[in-house]
Symmetry: C2
Subunit: 229 residues, 2 copies
DNA sequence: ACAATTAGGTATACGCCGTACGCCTGTCAA
DNA sequence: TTGACAGGCGTACGGCGTATACCTAATTGT
């Protein structure tokens, strides 16, 4: 007679796999992926650590499940759109997801090296489909994927965003030492931050920079495609 | 009278910071960075775990030191070379380093988010110098750095290299299921691996793909630079 | 109607990890 | 001679992932 909701004991809702994954994503979003442990996650769900293993095979599979969740947040491709626009929208949507979940980039990269998850494979599959139905050759599509997947430097992205990462103003002495040791960085940063007063504090417009890179690349691919026709 | 080398007790060489860092790099190279623990490193050096803390401040600082070591392996810039060639050589040299130390990319990215090491800053500084002395504007240099630092996808790079990561041949049934679920990936992979019999097993020429991406980007930057002149 | 199965949660324990703290022992300068 | 100190060691603490065994309530087959 008792419905599952008003059972006599302080039953919390019986906790399925999706709930575990969503809680894990939320916890990683707010505390960082390093602070995501099975024990902390269990505590956040009001449950003993080992209870999680009834719903998830282990930490690696938990991470894979979290990947599935966030990849699912990327907008699906719209049919009947020109390939360059379609790719552009998809990549920008993926970027929005990565900004919402700062841990995702690192986790996806690490886990994909071991074994790509179905959602990652599906994402890649639709990307290929867009290129191919846009008329790009197999070879050019292949090159395009590699080009968009490579990072060429492997780091550096976050150097300007917060000018160092810590929050306090650099005291004059250290900033003078900085200017001495890294004159080119210093010159570039001051030039950037002093231009166009529109930018709020310091730093640059990341969205603009991202689209700059994306368009540079897409235009290059289009040029190659046109030349081949 | 006893030289440090022939001391009476089984003294191993007194173990300085550089030796610790080099051992850590070697251990990460052969066992992966996940298997690199202070305890394992100490064991590899024939020393108690806590001995390391006399030479390194902690694990994070150990990782920073390892970054300094591998960044030091990147060829220094040669003066008097045209900017595009200079950048090209530097980036390819950095890539060789990253191939030698598969853990480096991940570690550098993670630590740079916290605080960039001096070597990373110095590397960036010389990159900026090359662009600027090549005549590129501050803005274009800025864009160039972002473009080369962004990955646009964040993953996917390793999908083709080993067609899945595990070593056994996929049995016919699973590969049929693959072909059904990811038709575009399947089509692309089979087309790539069946072309040009020159390629040994399966997979593609990573070096070629990397240079393709690099040149696509450098040519795009050059075009923008010429248009601005 | 009742026994058997099972799904969901728990408690305990093992072996790893990073590292704070204190101690010991040679070496060498004053 | 003495005392500082550099280098190394042992112990211990809290946190981690997770194997194993156990408990309880619901569900199901007969």
């Amino acid at each position: 007679m008792a419905t599952p909701a008003d059972a006599t004991r302080p039953h919390r809702a019986p906790l399925n796999t999706q709930a575990v994954l969503r809680a894990a994503v939320a916890l990683a979003d707010e505390s960082g992926v390093d602070a995501l442990s099975m024990r902390k996650l269990a505590q956040a769900l009001g449950v003993a650590p080992m209870a999680l293993y009834k719903h998830v095979d282990g930490k690696d599979e938990l991470l894979d499940g979290m990947i599935e969740v966030v990849i699912g947040e990327i907008d699906p491709p719209e049919p009947g759109v020109e390939w360059k626009t379609a790719i552009r929208r998809r990549v920008l949507s993926a970027r929005q997801m990565l900004l919402r979940h700062p841990w995702a980039s690192q986790v996806i990269e690490a886990r994909t090296k071991v074994r790509p998850t179905p959602a990652v494979l599906a994402y890649m599959d639709t990307m290929i489909e867009i290129f191919r139905s846009g008329g790009l050759s197999v070879d050019l599509t292949h090159h395009a994927l590699h080009t968009m997947g490579s990072r060429l430097l492997g780091f550096s992205q976050e150097l300007f965003n917060e000018s160092g990462g810590d929050d306090q103003e650099p005291d004059p002495e250290t900033s003078r030492a900085m200017a001495e040791q890294y004159p080119n960085i210093t010159a570039l940063v001051t030039a950037i931050t002093h231009d166009e007063g529109s930018v709020v504090g310091a730093g640059c417009d990341d969205q603009f920079e991202f689209e700059f890179a994306l368009d540079l690349l897409l235009n290059g691919l289009e040029r190659l495609h046109d030349a081949a026709s």
